[in-house]
């Protein structure tokens, strides 16, 4: 029995350039005891639906058509007073980032009791008892003590549990969870999803789970609504959507999700997005034939890291005994062989990004050494140092932050060439155009500025810049985790092609195990600044050697195996 049904919902944002329609004629239903997933890529309008139900649309958005019927009553989101009677009481919402969802100046208990007493006629003591029970029910240990703690005393996962406890204060009938686990590590994500599932079973509430992550959808939801550019593309049972999608968009999107179960040569292209289809990289031209001036590297390992350590001072003091340190990297040793793609895997805070910054000499190691071929970093002459910098390049996670917004694409890509090579303006311009062709953007992009491009296109510009110095060694720090699945597939394919064509050695840093499986030859698992395991990639996925690796693999959200 569906108790929420939305039909033909349209949400519009009027603006100076005309009205933007965020959601167009969307219809869906939710029943008690059911988890409905709303899935789609960025800009699909999935969060807007949740906000519209809550009456929490950002200014100047408004519902311009359709209706929302909740438990037999028609909702009018514009009527704030009526909405407040429902909001929080019968419908409640969980937001993405637990770190910012709680008021930092009040204890968890104060916030819980306040919410309980808003919805129920209880004395302060009864409300406190109720709050302790709620904390216990969402899996917080020793709730009698924890209730008087402030939000900053809880870890991210624990905070999200507190958020869920707050949502449960009013015994809501419907919970809207907007990307509730996106800000969390994989291991914590699994726990929170389990908690939501068990709450649905024990309390018989309906849940709308808004997410971009097909793995979360596959593991958690009963039914799925697939959205694309504000419209519902397909609705169905989760199993049917995953295994036998009917619409072209759904099919191509699902095929683009990296698989954790086996390695493919390439990601299948996303045929729905013809406009974004990449050109096959056309290599050649004078630039790549020029061999590097760096002395030939004969030894097999290209990069050798020995007993590397990195220590930050977290508290400065005159007396050494008062100083506090944080060891981001502890006694790490590994080698990267020429031509291989080495995956560096770990949760947030494991030290993966510190390794990247050490290798690119942004940080100086506190101990140990890094060798590139025969050259030891930190002992080079200025000339060697400059050559070395051209050999090691990096691609960053966030393409919105990695390009200078005040520079044209041409200047962005030309900067490293100008710095490392003596070339005329015309030669440089030709090279920039070639590079833009290679990454599939075309020379016309040169005159534009970064804000004129989408996230995926920006990442292509960043790749072109990284290739501009003719590097041998490319560090990719979560290069696709800020991108949509379909774009991710394109960028990863591009990286694979370039690696083969240019004979690059790659250090691929990621928390996303399915992506790592598709990309890497060998894998290093890190935790708390130390190496936990080093294995061949397929070996790692088939028979992990340590408990930690097994945990990581077990908790990885999986798409059920497809044929």
């Amino acid at each position: 029995m569906s108790f929420l049904s939305i039909s033909n919902l349209t949400v519009e944002y009027p603006g100076p350039l005309g009205t933007f329609t965020a959601v167009k004629n969307a219809s869906l239903t939710v029943a008690r005891g059911e988890i409905l997933g709303i899935v789609g890529e960025s800009g699909a309008g999935k969060s807007t639906i949740g906000n519209a139900i809550m009456g929490l649309l950002d200014h100047p958005g408004r519902v311009s058509g359709g209706e929302i019927i909740f438990d037999g009553e028609r909702l009018n989101p514009a009527d704030d007073r009526a909405m407040r009677g429902l909001r929080g009481k019968r419908i409640s919402m969980i937001f993405q980032d637990p770190m910012t969802s709680l008021n930092p100046l009040f204890t968890v208990g104060e916030q819980l009791i306040e919410t309980i007493r808003t919805h129920k006629r209880l004395s302060a003591d009864e409300a406190r008892k109720n709050a302790i029970e709620l904390l216990a029910s969402v899996g917080i240990a020793s709730p009698e003590e924890r209730i008087d703690h402030y939000p900053h005393q809880f870890s991210g996962g624990m905070r999200q549990r507190v958020v869920i406890a707050l949502v449960l204060c009013s015994d809501p009938d419907l919970i809207i969870a907007d990307e509730p686990t996106t800000a969390l590590d994989v291991s914590v994500q699994a726990q929170i999803l389990d908690l939501i599932k068990s709450l649905v079973a024990t309390r018989n509430v309906g849940v709308i789970l808004v997410t971009h992550d097909m793995g979360v959808i596959a593991e958690t939801t009963d039914r799925v609504v697939m959205m694309y550019k504000g419209e519902v593309v397909e609705t169905g049972e989760t199993a049917q959507i995953i295994h036998a999608p009917k619409q072209a968009y759904t099919k191509s999107l699902i095929s683009a999700v990296p698989r954790g179960d086996r390695r493919l040569d390439r990601f299948p292209g996303v045929s729905f997005l013809e406009a974004d289809r990449p050109a096959e990289p056309k290599l050649g031209g004078w630039w790549f034939d020029n061999t590097n001036q760096m002395p030939a590297i004969t030894d097999e390992p290209l990069v050798t890291v020995r007993n590397l350590g990195l220590r930050f001072t977290t508290r400065h003091a005159l007396l050494p005994s008062y100083r506090r340190y944080f060891n981001a990297v502890k006694d790490v040793s590994f080698q990267i062989r020429r031509g291989e793609v080495l995956g560096l895997v770990g949760e947030s805070g494991s030290g993966k990004s510190s390794i990247a910054k050490l290798l690119t000499q942004i940080y100086k190691p506190s101990s140990g050494e890094i060798r590139f071929g025969e050259h030891r970093l930190g002992t080079l002459t200025a000339r060697e140092q400059k050559l070395l910098r051209s050999q090691i390049q990096m691609i960053f996670q966030d393409p919105y932050s990695s390009l200078n917004p005040r520079m044209s694409v041409e200047r962005i890509i030309a900067e490293p060439i100008r710095h490392h090579a003596n070339a005329s303006g015309a030669e440089i311009a030709k090279l920039v155009h070639e590079l833009l062709e290679i990454v599939g953007l075309g020379a016309a992009a040169a005159k534009k500025f970064p804000h004129e491009f989408s996230g995926g296109q920006r990442q292509r510009i960043a790749i072109a810049r990284a290739l501009a110095t003719r590097p041998r060694f490319l560090i990719c720090d979560e290069p696709t985790s800020a991108l949509d699945v379909s774009i991710q597939a394109q960028i990863l394919n591009l990286l694979k092609d370039l690696r083969d064509a240019l004979d690059l050695t790659v250090l691929f840093i990621s928390h996303d195990l399915p992506v790592v499986r598709q990309m890497c030859d060998r894998i290093i698992v890190m935790r708390d600044g130390q190496i936990v395991e080093t294995s061949q990639a397929e070996h790692f996925f088939e028979s992990p050697q340590t408990d930690y690796s097994r945990d990581l693999l077990r908790l990885m959200p999986r798409m059920p195996s497809r044929t």
């Binding site: 350039l17 690119t360 400059k386 390049q393 990096m394 960053f396 200078n404």
Partner: protein
């Protein structure tokens, strides 16, 4: 249909957000127009003013303390009346506005240059350099600008003989105002620089091997210009007010070449005897000028400061 080119123009304006929002804010446009008109009038003072207020030969004591021309006893030749020296108030205001604008503009420019340099360095390199610069800023900010300016004026009086002091007064005041404004600029620039330094495009430039001074000039500077523009505009108002205040207190621009503040100081002597035009007109001119600067600054802040959007 003629709407097509008009529509095209509208789309082009809308695509340029700052211009679009400017045209959508009539108060800001009015303030810009008013401010520009006043600046123009001030710098054209030698051509616009009916009298040269600095030329003793042009003054006639018989015409002293005339009320504005529309009041009883007013003289059509003296639009806003005259002061006790027989000086035409309208001319004096034109010249005074020019002095105020020059002092304010130069002080802010110097302060922006110093603050920009130190703020970029402190924000980018951090560490000990940052700590030292910011401590200086903190101590400097302990003493509000007026107090610093008064103090510098006092020191210069102690060091220089009186007649030299008068001649150098304008430089003393510019020095004092710049000294009191630069810490604010440095703070703003440092904060923005620290934000930009965290962004990956700066890391990318470091990975390429671009030297730090080039990174600062080529990458960071263009991205902190917005906040600098805001803080410079707002402080232009502060500097003009500061100069006026100092001159009013009698430690600023001497009466021989009066600024607006000096004019109000002169008028203050006639407050109780009824010649109120002597403070009202210069005061209103000052307030209008600063108001238009502040309106533009406030609008810029709203548009360029992501915190307020």
């Amino acid at each position: 249909m003629f709407t097509t080119p008009l529509r095209k123009l509208r789309i082009r304006i809308a695509a340029h957000p700052l211009l679009y929002r400017f045209l959508a804010s009539p108060i800001t446009m009015l303030a810009t127009f008013l401010g520009a008109a006043m600046i123009l009038a001030a710098f054209l003072a030698p051509f616009l003013a009916p009298q040269d207020p600095f030329d003793p030969a042009a003054l006639d004591l018989l015409n002293s303390l005339l009320p504005p021309s529309w009041q009883e006893g007013g003289d059509a030749g003296y639009l806003l009346g005259t002061d006790d020296q027989g000086r035409d108030l309208f001319s004096a205001i034109l010249y005074g506005t020019r002095t105020s604008l020059i002092v304010g503009g130069v002080s802010v420019s110097i302060a922006v240059l110093i603050g920009l340099f130190l703020g970029l360095i402190a924000g980018y390199f951090g560490g000990l350099l940052d700590a030292v610069i910011m401590r200086i800023v903190d101590i400097q900010m302990t003493f509000p600008s007026i107090m610093v300016a008064l103090l510098i004026d006092g020191v210069s009086r102690g060091i220089l003989p009186a007649e030299q002091h008068d001649r150098l007064a304008i430089f003393v005041i510019i020095f004092a105002l710049s000294l009191s404004i630069w810490p604010q600029v440095a703070r703003t620039v440092r904060a923005s620089t620290m934000v930009q330094r965290q962004r990956d495009y700066v890391l990318a430039a470091q990975v390429i091997g671009i030297p730090s001074p080039l990174i600062l000039v080529r990458h960071i500077l263009p991205n902190v210009l917005g906040p600098i523009l805001v803080i410079a505009t707002i402080n232009l108002g502060v500097a003009i007010l500061g100069e006026a205040t100092l001159s009013f207190l009698g430690v600023g621009i001497p009466a021989s070449e009066p600024s607006l503040g000096t004019l109000i100081r002169i008028g203050n002597g006639f407050l109780f005897s009824g010649e109120r035009w002597l403070i009202i007109f210069p005061g209103m001119t000052l307030a209008l000028m600063v108001l238009s600067v502040n309106l533009v600054g406030d609008w810029l802040r709203q548009e360029l400061d992501p915190k307020l959007r």
